[in-house]
């Protein structure tokens, strides 16, 4: 790992929280407007990739805390689980269930389509980072 550029490092440190918040915003907006888990996950992955480029993949992994592969697995489970909720409490697999009590300020109503999107977010983030980190570490 060669010494990184100060400009890049500083910029990335400032951008990381902004990008992560933006990715969550995209995720949340996804149900009724353009956005969603896929784009959100990509933006989050881009944020972590920038960290990996400026400070090395090791540092990015430490900030992420979870292993990318494990994140993928969890995401798949969350998505599949949201489908099963529809199967158990509704009529069909993947049916949207919006419980009345599930309401958070700012975010709004929470239902299985939203949790499905969260799963997608995690899968995309995990997949993109696994690929990116592996490529960087191969060098």
């Amino acid at each position: 790992m060669n010494q990184s550029s100060i400009v890049l490092g500083t910029a990335v440190r400032l951008m990381l929280p902004v990008l992560l918040v933006y990715s969550l915003f995209l995720l949340q907006r996804g149900h009724h407007a353009p956005g969603g888990g896929f784009v959100g996950g990509l933006v989050a992955a881009a944020a972590f990739s920038l960290v990996a480029l400026s400070d090395g993949p090791g540092r990015a992994r430490r900030i992420l805390r979870v292993q990318p592969l494990r994140l993928m697995g969890l995401g798949l489970l969350v998505a599949a689980g949201s489908g099963v909720v529809g199967l158990i409490w509704g009529d069909a697999f993947l049916q949207g269930i919006w419980p009345k009590w599930a309401y958070l300020p700012v975010i709004g109503k929470i239902g299985t389509p939203f949790t499905f999107d969260v799963g997608v977010f995690m899968v995309v983030l995990g997949f993109a980072l696994e690929v990116f980190f592996t490529l960087l570490e191969d060098e």
Binding site: Q67, L69, R70, M72, G73, L74, G75, L76, L77, A80, G83, V84, G86, L87, G90, D91, A92, F93, L94, Q95, G96
Partner: protein, 503 residues
């Protein structure tokens, strides 16, 4: 009901997720994958029994009615194939644990295998053309990584050919799907079947049929698009070849069966003549390749191509008995082909390679392995009373009844040449004495390989038992195949089941 049809997709998905989470612990991954595949197999059997008793089962995922929602349909064909996928998946999981090197096994092998199975089962069950495309892509992603796992030069070369050809196929599939959607305004397969039958412009429908033929023919390795298969299937570890040989190319055949028994049936004289000619060309091309090769897995790869030809011939003849023969042959071929690749894997484990010129003496050294190989090889070649014989017999009879004498002539010649290529493996690898300067493993390496080969025999024995059972239970299984063919020939059953008779 809904639950039952979702399970073959949900189980591999959940297994893939759990094995990803347990990325570090190989034992847990193995156990999870085993449990997942076993439950998939059980689910397949339950669906089969259900469909056999109550007719075609339909589930609308998402709760939207067809033709707008995500439709899952299981008729007899789908149920049989899901069960077969369970068998192959289970055997593959066991074989992997005993034969694959640790480095590859650790590198997300089990998650990929499960994602592959999810795509395969999804393709068998979906009642929607676009979801079929999605499942194809899921399979393509998983299979490409499986093919190149480990990243040797040969693997990357084979993988590139595989990827490019399959991407072309996907692009054509997508184009054809888009054009069809523009013409008939639906992607639900049952709805398409109705709309296409009523569509005034038959020329357009014939063109679309040919586009789908090319797209699925590429996936199934049909003539003239077969060359990618023998160029890539022998490069990855044997267990990957086995699951590809058993399931992947069969999905293409399944898609052809669906398309040309249900959607494009208006102009049989044209579409099915094309199919018959291509089927014969596929058989010839495959078997000639098999005869010319000198490496076990290359020979087997070319034989996949020729067996695809047999299957498509059954579809082309389009009579009840011919389709039954094709279904029977499909089931037999899934099991036998997987097993033969397993056996090739065991041989490669013992000797370090699969080159017939440098092999020999296996009969003297390993009588059990030899007998197991002989059973599968003779079954594939079509020697009574093994399963392949019945399959070919039925197809030949169907051809005679339909008076397709030239196709039957070709099929007989191809069957004989298949027997010859199998005999070649037998004579060179098992019968002849080991070449004097043959390289042999020694010491610890030898012990490790011996032990692993012995254990890997477990799934081989299991699949051989299944093969023999298919041969001896040919009667009841053929009854089942006939019932399946009946369903295929009467698409109105499928349409009514999906659309509920209101349209």
């Amino acid at each position: 009901m809904d639950t039952l049809l979702v399970l073959p997709i949900l189980i591999p998905l959940a297994t893939a997720a759990l094995t990803l989470i347990a990325a570090r612990a190989l034992r847990i991954q193995r156990a999870l994958s085993f449990a997942g595949m076993a439950s998939l197999l059980i689910t397949g059997v339950v669906i089969l029994l259900h469909v056999d008793e109550h007719g075609i089962a339909v589930a609308q995922a998402g709760g939207w009615a067809a033709p707008y929602g995500i439709t899952l349909v299981a008729d007899r064909l789908s149920a049989l194939l899901v069960t077969a996928a369970g068998v192959v998946g289970l055997a593959t999981t066991v074989f992997t644990g005993f034969s694959l090197d640790r480095r590859r096994e650790r590198a997300s092998f089990y998650p990929l295998l499960n994602v592959l199975l999810m795509g395969v089962c999804g393709s068998f069950l979906t009642g929607d053309l676009f979801n079929l495309y999605v499942c194809f892509e899921v399979m393509l992603m998983a299979s490409f990584v499986l093919l190149t796992l480990g990243g040797t030069r040969a693997q990357l070369e084979g993988g590139l050919k595989y990827l490019i050809l399959n991407l072309v196929s996907s692009a054509i599939f997508l184009t054809a799907g888009g054009l069809l959607y523009r013409a008939v305004g639906t992607l639900n397969m049952a709805d398409i079947a109705e709309q296409v039958a009523a569509y005034p412009d038959t020329g357009l429908m014939d063109t679309l049929a040919m586009l789908f033929l090319v797209a699925f023919g590429l996936k199934a390795a049909m003539f003239p698009f077969f060359f990618w298969l023998p160029a890539s299937y022998h490069t990855p570890p044997p267990v990957v070849s086995a699951v590809f040989a058993g399931l992947l190319s069969k999905v293409g055949v399944y898609a052809l069966l669906r398309t040309f028994t249900m959607m494009f049936t208006g102009h049989l004289a044209f579409t099915h003549t094309v199919l018959a000619v291509l089927a014969c060309a596929t058989m010839i091309a495959g078997v000639l390749g098999a005869v010319a090769q000198m490496e076990i897995r290359r020979i087997l790869s070319f034989q996949i191509v020729s067996s695809i030809g047999f299957l498509i011939l059954g579809l082309a003849l389009m009579s009840k008995i011919a389709l039954a023969g094709a279904v029977f042959y499909l089931l037999h071929n899934i099991v036998v082909k997987t097993n033969l690749f397993f056996l090739a894997g065991v041989i490669e484990k013992l000797r370090g390679h699969g080159d017939l010129r440098r092999l020999g003496g296996l009969w003297r050294e390993r009588p059990v392995l030899s007998v197991l190989f002989l059973v599968s090889a003779l079954s594939l070649a079509g020697i009574p009373p093994l399963s392949g014989f019945w399959a070919k017999l039925v197809l030949l009879r169907a051809g005679l009844e339909g008076e397709w004498y030239w196709a039957i002539g070709i099929a007989v010649v191809v069957a004989l040449l298949t027997l010859y290529s199998m005999t070649k493996i037998w004579a060179l690898a098992f019968w002849k004495d080991a070449p004097p300067n043959e390289f042999a493993f020694t010491g610890r390496e030898r012990d490790v390989r011996e032990k692993s080969a012995r254990r890997a025999m477990l799934p081989v024995v299991a699949l051989t038992v299944v093969t023999v059972a298919i041969g001896f239970l040919a009667g009841p299984i053929f009854e089942m195949a006939l019932a399946t063919a009946e369903q295929l020939l009467d698409p109105s059953q499928y349409v009514t089941a999906v659309l509920g008779g209101v349209s």
